[in-house]
Symmetry: C2
Subunit: 450 residues, 2 copies
């Protein structure tokens, strides 16, 4: 009943490997995964090995060949040189591999700003396990580290260096760290946590040069020269699209364009993970995601579809979680700024609460911010910070958003309570009630006007 | 704009107080709360004071009069003797209080099995703060405790006595503890945890007699005589409906019948909390809830409607959480047994996972069980146990169920990931995938048959 497609998958990262396994589970028996990397790992784990939470790189990685072998997937440890979409052939140095269905999961590569000195020894990106291994080797001899870029990986790297006893400076070119993901109030909570742990923040300024002779010695920024034994450049990731350049596969926003089946502009060729530009589940517009979870979700859909069954990828709300020291922070959907950029009037509900009943001594603080569309009352964004319990709330709110939940839905939320694990009044409900009252006031004001 | 209804609320527990505050927030200025109790507290907190997690009863209680005063609500500390629904009057010993809208929130009372000796000193229920205070006084002199009833409060009481160094026996008349809330596999996880902490379990047998002269000395069951300095009878709660007996207000299943506005069979009279029988959000049939969260949710709706605005109560999935020692356990919707009783064929997805990435050392175990309707693929039940992270998942699954989510919805779930706080493969998605494959196999088998 299942079609025996010859499925070829390029890339052994989260998206590629997930696609291969999903195709296998769907019933396909002829799957070939081609990858130049022999290790499977989550890049998100790298800062936690550097920081010492995880013992060594062996703990986070496993052999792609072994995974494939155990699952009955062919594995070729080679580099793909080109794709011939006409002949349905993938070329490596030595082989021509025929496919009926192709999944492209070539990942992304660190973007590097065009400044002097990025080639110097001691200047790293933190994208691959090899990067992290080099950084690990450098840490024992280092006293100072400069991290350039206040995104998730940059902040985790900065925290890791603090755990390892280094003096750390974090440079963010924009006004706040994480400012594409959170509104200023939540960014400031993060910045305070970093500063409380001794990280020096330099914001709103761009790095000018990395200096040194052979090895990095300092970073120049705004007239200052900051000593640096290690520099981590964490200034974004760009989709790897070189392989598709001459295939006729369409790009959008610098990544591979995919439809709701994760299919590219060429029938039978799918793409998943960091090499793609996905779409916003809120606006339907193309957006980058660059999250491991998106790679896994897209990979699953690509694998199932390549194997001849039917699966749909609904886009992303870019649901995300971070842990920095004892601070948990998460988000999904629009920030207030994002909503404004879409021309959307919003109402925000906020609450400070606890992960336990207010009188229960072991409870941890939690703050919930919910952003609603003032017109149709739909939840469009959420930001949560606290000492615990953030993951579950982010996931609930992401799901609520995907189900087009309104402020009225969240007020009515049924939830569970027991003093040690949850307060009797759910923080999401309280934040929704806060927004609801504001919406009602707005609407009454509008009524009086008319 | 708001109608100035004279709202009278009978009862100062979770439902009554919430109703008063909700009516106030909705804009009502003439609210009278009548209660014979002067303290507001969550009965769920009582075992945690006895166990020592919470320092004293002062921490969990506050003055109802003070809350009312701060909120501009009239408070009468009196007992209501009768309701005259014709004249719209509530009678106390000294007063006649007129109402336009009435909210009945008279709560419930412990049900006591018809056995000898329940009147003896040292035999307690654990429903009110006064009960817990008596138990607290008895604990320092006690060596042995017998808890009768393996529901939530019974188990928490048993755990509390262990924390206080007593020898504890727990008696459950049915086959498993918590067996109305969980399926046997999850009940057994709980039982193992109780036994690991030294609690003796006696199941499938009913207590025959409580013996003693003035004070309890032992409990007789199945030919055994179990020494007991303290006995806690935790054998269920019955709705307090005496006040409505002659009013013409309809009952159902022993509790006050309410509609989706929490209105009773008499217009303008609402009811909320343990005195009501609510309805199942899955079947629409009347079910008891007896949860503090249900009281709060019904109270909110009753208060808003009594104040002349519009709110709807959608029923309950009886979303619940428990913490016993280091075990977190939660549930919502149907058990497999419940579904069977409804004549529903189900498919169950299970997974064992972690609260963190599998390689992250501080992760805690978690088990997710999802029950789907085999026909329409809708989620109808969830049970979760683990060392952490249970609350958020129970709430997500409760919401998913209220939104009629299917196994296909949960497979596509977008979620957040970071190694210290969540695995890259979400346990809910994995459990849904497990169920999905079973459903597909079932459907293919059916196809082949036809």
């Amino acid at each position: 009943m299942q079609k025996m497609e010859e499925i070829v998958i390029i890339g052994g990262g989260g998206a590629g490997l997930t696609a291969a396994l999903a195709a296998k589970r769907t019933g396909s028996d002829n799957i070939t995964l081609i990858t130049k990397d022999h290790l499977s790992y989550s890049p998100c784990a790298l800062p936690f090995v550097i920081g010492g939470d995880i013992e060594d790189f062996g703990k986070i990685s496993s052999s792609i060949e072994a995974i494939c072998k155990n699952s009955g997937i062919n594995c070729l440890l080679e580099e793909v040189l080109s794709i011939d979409a006409e002949k349905r052939i993938v070329l490596t140095k030595e082989k021509e591999i025929r496919y009926n269905k192709l999944v492209i999961a070539t990942g992304g590569s660190p973007a590097m700003p065009p400044i002097k000195g990025t080639h110097l020894g001691g200047v790293h990106t933190l994208h691959r396990i090899e990067d992290a291994e080099k950084i690990m080797k450098a840490v024992p001899k280092a006293k100072t580290a400069v991290v350039v870029g206040g995104g998730a990986i940059g902040l985790e790297a900065a925290a890791a260096f603090i755990e390892r006893g280094l003096k750390v400076t974090l440079i963010e070119g924009l006004e706040y760290v994480l400012c594409r993901l959170f509104d200023p109030d939540y960014c400031q909570t993060v910045e305070k946590k970093l500063q409380d742990h001794g990280i020096e923040l330099i914001k709103g300024k761009f790095i000018e040069e990395i200096s040194g002779a052979g090895r990095v010695q300092s970073v120049k920024i705004a007239g200052r020269e900051i000593p640096a034994d290690i520099v981590v450049m964490s200034t974004g990731v760009r989709p790897n699209t070189k392989l598709v350049e001459k295939t006729g596969i369409e790009l959008v926003g610098g990544g591979i364009k995919t439809d709701e089946y994760t299919q590219t502009s060429i029938k039978g060729i799918y793409a998943a993970g960091d090499c793609t530009i996905t779409k916003s589940a809120l606006t339907g517009k193309p957006v980058p995601s660059l999250l491991g979870t998106t790679a896994i979700r897209q990979g699953t859909v690509a694998g199932i579809n390549a194997a001849g069954e039917h699966a749909v990828f609904d886009g992303v709300l870019n649901s995300m979680l971070l842990k920095l020291f004892d601070l948990e922070i998460g988000r999904c959907g629009f920030t207030e700024k994002d909503a404004k950029a879409e021309g959307m009037e919003t109402v925000t509900g906020r609450i400070k609460s606890s992960t336990a009943a207010e009188y229960y001594p072991k409870g941890k603080w939690i703050e919930v911010k919910l952003i609603f569309n003032a017109k149709d009352h739909r939840l469009v964004g959420a930001q949560i910070a606290g000492g615990g319990g953030v993951a579950g709330k982010v996931n609930l709110l992401t799901f609520a958003m995907s189900k087009k939940a309104t402020v009225e839905d969240l007020i009515k939320l049924e939830y569970a309570y027991t003093p040690p694990l949850a307060p009797s009044h759910n923080p999401i409900v309280l934040a929704a009630e806060n927004a609801y009252r504001k919406i009602k006031r707005l609407e009454e004001k509008d009524k009086r006007k008319n």
